[in-house]
Every structure is written in structure tokens, then in C-alpha cells.
Amino acid sequence: MTSSNNTDTRLMTGNEACAEAALVAGMRFFAGYPITPSSEIAEVLARKLPSSGGVFIQMEDEIGSIAAIIGASLAGVKAMTATSGPGFSLMQENIGYAAMTEVPVVIVNVQRGGPSTGLPTLPSQSDVMQARWGTHGDHPVIAVVPSTVYETFVWTIKAFNFSEQYRVPVIVLLDEIIAHINEKITIPAHDELAIIDRTLSSQPPESYLPYKNTPSGVPLFAGFGTGYRYHVTGLCHDETGFPSSNARIVEELYLRLNRKIDQHRNDIIEYQTLDLDDAEICIVAYGSSARSAQRAVRIARQDGIKVGLFKPFVLWPFPGEELAELTRKAKTIIVPEMNLGQIAHEVSCATRKDVVSVNRVDGTLITPQEIVKRIYDVQV
């Protein structure tokens, strides 16, 4: 394949692929604030959105950025922001607001070392629990974790699809490695990609209930300024959208918010396996660590060790049931991650197996050799 072919093959970074994919998904509003290592996403979109009929705005901070994209999404426009650790922390309250008010938005968090300013230019995977539980309250969220530039492209589009379909904030968790690596990617033809838009209400405005339960649990959307004059609040509300502290209504709201993800988890969850059928040792790895894990499996398999890989694309909701089923025969599970064992704990809860962690928090990608060593350790 060469550049003269019709297929669109390019060398691209994860950040570039994320920005390109967002445009393909129909994103036409980006608000952000500069932060390493995510800034290239904003830079690409600052160049491209004005000529694509979209809006790019650099806000005064990350809180303003996520507020602005929620405002834009209420007008019916697909909207996104991109940030990294410190900015992701600042966004948490309004991520909760988007969850509570069911406004579709996509938040990209390019993980770097933390807490605090941490390691601005170096990779980490230490925001995976924050992605799930960062904002206060019980709330549903979807987080995806690509591990290649191609996967970043595909999963950014899926992030928009999930967000539109279920009306939830969706978090794309990249890390500095994926964000900055230049890799060959063949961009799928647009007609091969499914693009989902939020379902609009066809009710007349007089009888429109903005938070009415539906069989899918997802209310029908009406954009601001389209003749539906309704109320949106972060307070607990009834199906009309107005505040309520009635115990039954409040409970129904919380349960529906969670149910709309729970009942679609099989449509959301996706993962990849490698050599898992006969595996006595299973490696669970995501994001850039999965690349090292894949190499480790290949090396160990050459030595005849029965080891396989489970690589989730969707980290939240966590694919615990699937993992438990696929690792029924495994004796040990190894979880390499660039944090001190955040997902290892989740894996342990889901599988009730011996879970061995391989951790690095020094801003360095775990090497295949480190994982291979642990495979030999647990083998004996």
C-alpha cells in the first residue's frame, strides 16, 4: 500500500487521530484549555473546525471548557473537550452535571503522571478510577481505553455514538504514549463507520417531557431554541425536568440513570482476546500497557507457556462478567498497569482469582520483559 492508493493511509499520532475521528463523528463544537499532553487535539481542531462549519473556543479554564460543551450540546451540537490529569480533576463537577442532566458530551483525558502537576510530559494510567468515580454521587459513565492510533480513531467515534445513544458523558482515556506515538493508520472509509445521533423527540412541545422514561431508559432529546421550552437542572428532578425531592421520584431518577447503562452493557462492552482459550495465565491489560502485554504473551508462548491476553476497549462499565467467564480455567491473572493497581483490584473482585500486579509509576511504559518475568514467576 502506498500513499498513491485510494485508501487513506497516513502516519498519525493518537491525538491527531482523536481529533480527526471526532470530526468524522460529527463533532462540531470543541472547547478546551491548553494542557500537556493533550494540547495537540485542540490545535488540530482550532485549525479544522472553522472551515468545517464548527466552533472552536479556547476557554479560560477546564471548568469553563466542559461547561461550554454542555451548553453547546443542549443546542443539539455534538461537542467535545480534551484535557489531561489536572484539567480532568477540574472538570469533575460538570461531568456529574452532564450525567445528571443527560447531556451527551465526550471528554478526552490524555493521562499523565499525577497526582497534582505530577509528570506533565510522561505517561501514566492513574486516572482510570477517577474516570469512573471522579465526580460525586452515583452516576453512570462510559470510558473507553484504546491502545493504538487506529483504535483511538475507532473508539473516539464509538465514544460519540455511546454518548448520543445513551445521553451520557463518555470519557476517552488515552495516555501520553498513545497520544504522541506516530503510527500507521488506514482511515476507514466513512461509509464503513456507523455514526449515531441522539434520538429527537417527535412529540408536540405541549406534551414533551424532557426526562420521560422510555423502554431504553433514555429520554428523547429536544434542542434548545427549537420550540420546546423546558427546564434543565442539576437538582434532582422529575420527568418534566423541574426540581423534586420527592423520595420516590428521586430514587426513580437515580435508578433510571444507572439502569440505562446497565441494561445496555452488552452493547457497550467490547474487548479483544489473544491466546486465551487454553491459557493458565491470563494478562489483563488496557491502553498502552496492552501493547507490552501483547509482546509478552508472544514471547512467553514461544517458550510454550500457556498465557493469554484480555484487552478491554471499554473499561467502564467494567467487563467483569466476561472476564470471569473467559478466565474460568486460568490459575493466575497478571495485571500490568501504569499505576499502583487500580484495575487489578477490579479484576480481583470480578474473577476471585489470584491477581498479580505489575506496576510502574515512574513515567515509563512497562516493558514486555517485566511482564514476561512475572509470567515465569507465577509459572513455577
Binding site: A68, E93, N94, F224, R229
Partner: protein, 270 residues
Amino acid sequence: MFRYEYYLRNKHFPHIWCTGCGCGIILKSLLRAIDRSALSKDEIALISGIGCSSRTPGYVDFNTLHTTHGRALAFATGLKLAKPDLKVIVVSGDGDATAIGGNHFIHTARRNIDITAIIYNNHIYGMTGGQASPTTPLGKRGSTAPYGSIEPDFDISGLAIAAGASFVARSTCYHAVQLDKFIEKGLSKKGFSLIEVLSPCPTYYSRPNRLGTAVDMMRWYKENSIPFARAKDMSAEERRDKVITGILHDIERPEFCEEYKRLTERVKGT
């Protein structure tokens, strides 16, 4: 004949505001100004943050958005840019706009985006029980300033002017007729317009500061307000503890949505 009921979500009354609160006065003034501006209910988006004033959107029949504390202007910026044909109005309190939301406040003014902000200044956090705010005057008490505030207070209008707003006016709940006019002017102004309204909080500001009833507060506004035109020639000493009312600032500056549109045309043209 003008009817408030036309603009209100009547079944959501009674409202939550205390007797003597200025929120209702400002709400009615806003509705009169909107009516005079001949805006349709569908084209108005009313956005707020958190606080007593921020409950206003729930009571009016527009596209209404009750957001998080301090962030109304940032939400409004996103909505306005995504749908520039909406008339976007923000209602906010002194704490919401100039403490937690101070950053959004100055940058919204700097961009001069076509949003009208009405800031209810009652010098106190009413919703949470009377804590001191950035506009609590020096020496005045709040539940978190039991010995009197030792912090200088913010001049909300001055802040907006310095940051780049194109229209800034100040009024009080006593001067309701004047307020109608200012809001109407603000709504018709292309760019960021800000109307600061001094508003009584008899429950949490007047009482601990022994300023009397809501009626006493209205009398105080009446007796201590000085029109901007007259105040210009007064010394700082004469202006102390007075409320300078009027249109304080009214200039033409490039508006952000239009500038963005121009940018897109320029980029597409090349």
C-alpha cells in the same frame, strides 16, 4: 395589556424566595423588558448558576438552564456560540458571578460575546445562610464574618467595564422603572451587557447588620442612590457609601460570535 402570567410557569409557584427579597422585583422587571423587546419565548434562553437568584429560570417559560455554581456564563458561552440566534440571558448573584465564577465573568466580558447578564447584588450568600461574599462591604457582618468583614469588596460593574463589557449599568430594586429600561437596553446591545442590581436580603443581610426591614432597605436605596451623571463631579468622599446608578458604560466593540463568523469566512475563503 402586559400579563406576567404569559411568561411564567404558573404551576411552579409559589416561589422559594423570602418575603421582601429583591429576586421577584428583578424577575418582573426582566419580564417587562423582554416584553418590550418583542422577543419570542422560544428564542430566549435563561441560564443561571447556583443561589437564590439562580432559581429564577425555573419560574419562566423560556429555554431554561440551571447549571453549577459560578459556571452559568461558561454554559451560556457554549450555547450562544452553538446557536447564535438565541437571545441568551444569564441571571446570577454576587457570590456566583464574582467569587466562584469570577474567572468566567471577566473572560466573558473580555470576549464581548452577545450575552446579557443580570447580577443580583445582595452582598451576601443568601441560599446557604448568609455567609460573606466578595461584595459584602468592609465592616459588614455575615455568618462567616461575625466580627465584620475585613476584606475590601468588589465593584461588580467596575470589574465588567475593566474586563471589556460593552454595556454596563447599575440600578437597585427600588428603581424598578429604571431597571426595566437598563435591561431592555442591555438586551438590545450587541456584545456583553451587564446590569448590576442592588437587591435586598432582609433575612440574611439586613438582619445581622441591623439595617431594618425590606422596606427600610428600599428607603435606603432611594435615599443613597446618586445618578451617574451627577456622581461624576463628586469627590470620592462624597461618593462613599452611596450607590451610583445609571448607564455607566456603553461602547461599541467587536462581538465574539460575529468575529468567529468572520473568521470562518476568512478561513473558508483561503
